[in-house]
């Protein structure tokens, strides 16, 4: 009976044999993450597939706008040795393009269409990555980028209901206002895990 500690060790040996791992993160007993160079991704994925990691669970991207890079993430899963692997690779943000993994996992067709639609990443090798999948008649920059402002878009396109101000403030003391400001200040100070 295989316990999963030896699964992860087996995996570590396998991956380090194939290519150079830039960063390794052991998230839990059943999930690990490797960050590799973008040219090694295809070799790594096909070797992993031949060793049993046959299911592509997810393909998406993270927008690191300060470092001016996109991070494309592939998540693959094995049903016999249950470890979920995240393969991360950084690509350039100005002209983002990543070779398509359609020959290895044919189901990546729709994931790449979605990543193109929401981030703008091109996938040469996938014949129809430009077709629209989810957003119909979209007229702005790809929406999941961090420099897209969803509330400005919403205010521009959909009007808000205006409520008539038919009430009046009757009491002169503004204890409530003071208490509310105090609450807001405390909530902002606690953000990010800072203790008071």
């Amino acid at each position: 009976m295989m316990n999963s500690i030896s699964n992860v060790e087996f995996l570590n040996e396998l991956v380090n044999q194939i290519c150079k791992v830039q960063k390794y993160e052991n998230i839990s007993q059943y999930q690990v993450a490797y960050e590799v160079d973008k040219r090694d991704v295809h070799r790594l994925l096909s070797t992993l597939k031949s060793h049993g990691w046959k299911q592509l669970s997810y393909l998406s991207a993270v927008d690191w706008i300060e470092e001016n890079q996109f991070e494309v993430v592939y998540i693959v899963f094995n049903w016999d040795k249950p470890v979920q692997i995240q393969i991360r690779c950084r690509i350039d943000r100005e002209n983002p393009s990543m070779d398509s993994i359609l020959p290895i996992f044919p189901g990546a067709k729709y994931y790449e269409r979605e990543a193109h639609e929401f981030f703008g990443i091109a996938f040469p090798g996938n014949p129809d990555y430009k077709k629209q999948l989810i957003l119909e008649m979209w007229d702005d920059i790809p929406p999941l980028r961090k420099d897209f402002d969803p509330s400005a878009y919403s205010d521009r396109k959909f009007t808000k209901r205006d409520y008539p101000t038919d009430y009046a403030v009757t009491s002169k003391d503004n204890q409530r206002l003071v208490k509310r400001e105090e609450r807001k200040r405390r909530a902002t100070a606690l953000r990010g895990g800072n203790k008071q």
Binding site: K131, Q132, I134, L135, E136, M137, D139, D140, P143, F148, P150, S151, Y153, S154, D155, K157, F158, T159, K160, R161
Partner: protein, 192 residues
Amino acid sequence: MKSTKFTPYTKLSKTETDRKWWEIGDFFRRNSLWLLMYCTGCCAIELPPAMTSAYDMERLGMGPMATPRQADILLVSGYLSLKTLRRLVYTYEQMSEPKYVVALGSCPINGGIYHDSFAVINQLNQYIPVDVYVAGCMPNTEAVMNGFVDLIGLIKSKKANGWKEYHKNNDWFKENQITALGKVVIDDEFHQ
């Protein structure tokens, strides 16, 4: 008191006869409303208790129907993304008149918790005419039943005229739909 044998019989004018026929039709229409089970968003989870033995909807005469052509009420339950709005406009125009729209939840009123999203519309009233709003996020099932009873009251007092407004102000509705959707009828690979 005048004897009825000699008072002349006054014939009702055409508008009055039409109104009386319409009132009889209103009695039948408000006592047997058929719902289209179009569960758009999260508020649809309030419909199973309303339909089954908990808060029985059938004693009001309402029942679920499978297609828009057979239904009277279009129940918009929850938020509407742009994709769903396009299909909702198709569905609304397929229903046979007179038809009513009931909007559940606060998302059709002013956007709800998705008011600053790029894909969810804020006000349903601009695209199709709405008769009854039921506020809440999500409303209690008793509030939903109350909304239906309010709709029956509106039909009785002849105020549920959303479908007539859609015909009268069709240009305004169409203009709003085109602003939001671009084009109402499109072809894509899923439509062929």
